[in-house]
Symmetry: D3
Subunit: 183 residues, 6 copies
């Protein structure tokens, strides 16, 4: 039996992630997949708007359609790169290979002797998340970029309003950084 590990912040889980999981399921390379929810303790910022609980709902419901047994595991940050792999390994069911396009993640896993599969798309998932959050804030169309179950979770937690309100804190901080001169 082979188990894979795929980590993301999933803020939110979107079609880029979904395609990635679909391919992993189709490739037949692994029999089971662990989906690690990174920065699990973060929420209520523009960079990380959703709680771990909300993201567990998104991911669990979205991947249910694939014929691949999965585990969805929140991973809190320890803020110490040198122990990150051990931390992930202790929080997750054992895995044989990892999927990631994040250079830091790749470096850390490879220094620990864990095989990493990179996907073809250069960090597309990650950038996509950033764009979706901006679209939500700006009132542009975003619902077509995430699975339907993700739309439901975001609406149930009033995620659109939360993201817009929080982004105003960011605007003030940026104004300070630019004009306040000393921050």
């Amino acid at each position: 039996m082979t188990r894979g590990f795929y980590i993301g912040r999933f803020q939110p889980y979107h079609n880029g992630h979904h395609t990635m999981v679909e391919r992993i399921a189709a490739d037949g390379e692994v029999d089971e997949l662990v989906l690690g929810i990174g920065s699990a303790g973060n929420s209520h910022t523009v960079h990380d708007p959703f709680t771990a609980g909300e993201r567990i709902m998104m991911v669990t419901n979205a991947v249910a359609e694939f014929d691949l047994p999965t585990y969805v595991v929140p991973i809190e940050d320890l803020d110490r790169h040198s122990v990150w792999v051990s931390h992930v390994q202790s929080m997750s069911p054992g895995f044989d290979l990892a999927y990631s396009n994040n250079p830091l993640v790749i470096q850390l896993f490879e220094e620990a002797g864990i095989e990493v599969r990179q996907s073809r798309m250069f960090d597309r998932e990650r950038l996509e998340g950033s764009e979706i959050r901006e679209r939500i804030i700006e009132g542009e169309q975003w619902r077509d970029r995430v699975p339907d179950v993700v739309v439901e979770v975001i609406e149930e937690c009033n995620g659109v309003e939360r993201l817009r309100t929080i982004s105003q804190s960011d605007i003030v901080e940026r104004w300070e950084a630019t004009n306040g001169g000393c921050e």
Copy 2:
């Protein structure tokens, strides 16, 4: 839709826990159940021998037999009782009622206005865990007290040997405490 929350350290997940989940599934009181794995960051002590990843395997595999959708969520300690309920709520899919026999857990949930169902057995699950760990250490029979899938997980991670080795640290500490006089 009603979702319940049942938290335990699951060190290991045993028949007492299993009976509890079985009843929840049979009662039909909830449509979904979140199983929170408490003290998720602890491992490799006599009190908490197994990692969160190992316990996720135990719980996920064991509850698969019930006809009840479940989420298995590790919850790391924040070491601050006053924010524990908020922490649990942010790490877990939303829930409507909690199951617990632990007086502290009951107190914290009730102060936060969350309904708690206590089961009939006074803390039997918890004491059972302690006894099973002792039986593993002492080489007595323990496999009949946990679901078969839990035996598999414990054997796969060499849990018996781990527990026995670690318990020797405990013996020394207790010797120090009793005879060393000043600790």
Copy 3:
């Protein structure tokens, strides 16, 4: 009896804050007011130059002139937004409504079901703090922007010199960020 809660970093406590407290005292909406000193563990940076102890002195002495019973409570950061409200509630005497213009604070309190009064001035207090710190660093006039007792506290702790010295660290960091290329 109604108690209000007003949180700020108070770096330093200035006329904007003072006007806000004056209005709260005049409105008669609350019988008592808790002043929460945010990011209480931070000090010795350009963004947060003063210690909690120094800020307690500023705030306590400044609000003494109003005919409103107050509590001044330092609140250390937990770096986890999802439990921030619970944390504040455990550190503070119980309160019935909160005063804030910070969108994140408003969002967090409202998600927790706590009523928030926003004042008319869009984040003026906050920006004012940033400008006062810059004026102190640049050697411009700042004493007319804070209550007299705040001037005293800043002078007693050599705050002007501290802020100027520390701002040189910032200059180096910014030079690095701009020219060093890789930071």
Copy 4:
């Protein structure tokens, strides 16, 4: 102007503490007194049942009767004795001498060159706290051992019930420790 510093956990603030503050006020040795609430982040245990906010209420209301300006400051634990004095100094208005009977507190302050006044009663305040908590749990008389305002705070937060419920967790833990053999 001379300012004193008196630290305690105040779980709860009782007549022993009150007598101590009364004497400090009567001695005229200090012009102002800071009351530091130790282990401010702890609550909901038998050893530390009350939150910092509840204890701020107890102390502030109780010392109001003395003719001595006071500051009531919660101090969270950093769990590192070597920096404890610096931590206290940064969280508190500056002070010239400290009052304590706790040998560790005395040692830490003296290593840092801060003068400590010990009172005549050998740790009576501290033991008194332990006994009061036990009396609350056992349903014995305790109200005559604390100032009236403290009774009010404890009743308002349902402290009696909280302490009794929590003490049941303790009973189980002690049973485990004694009989479970391996904890």
Copy 5:
């Protein structure tokens, strides 16, 4: 080149540790030795009276007499056994084998695939530390149980007085635990 790793709390460094290092130096099994000072952040308790800095002095000066290149490295606790080995590896020069009699340390290193040499003496070093601390407190003879340079460090930091003063806190805590009933 082969490098070994030997960890202890060294509270204080004593003849048992010294004999261990002497043998490692004599065996010629390793070309260099890292001495890890465990629980480096702890100090000012009966269990851990000395700071990391004081212990660095003890160890560095004591091992100077052996003809073996050494590194003395304080290791702060992360309070998470599952990442302890990674933590140690990141804080220390790379090592090829470890020396320990502590069952937990042995277990953690072996799970991580690191070879551990156990010495013949069952945990003698550790118990010896406990006894020496007690002798210091009780005013019995202890100087013949540690290298001379360790005596110097302890005297220079007034360690005898520190340990005795701190032990009085312990006495009170034990009295509470036994008689107070509820702690």
Copy 6:
């Protein structure tokens, strides 16, 4: 006997640091020197690529050529400026004066009453570190800017490759910051 303290992040230890230590050794102002490795817990970022263990190797091997007894001590961040000096003092052998050009370090030491010697070069060591890291990333010449033993350590840990890989994470983050709009 006089002991000095010189702190840096040493990412990596380079000729600027080396010249500084050389001068301290030549001046004869101190009999021993402690080299504190700051931000010891950080690694695997462009700002802090090397682990504490790798930096201990760099510094220890480099300063061996001087005729000055040294201690090399990793210092983990506590993220609280107000206790930083106490933290450093507890982790380090006692010292009588400090060497630094960092304005924040100077401010903190001077507020604590510790004498600081500033060197003539305005923060040259620090900027040099930034430039060396960039040169490693860009494939430009850097080996002539660090002692030979530092080249060896960096090559042994595959530091060049590590830094290049990690810098790609940075590029993505900066792209997000500039174009993503909302981060």
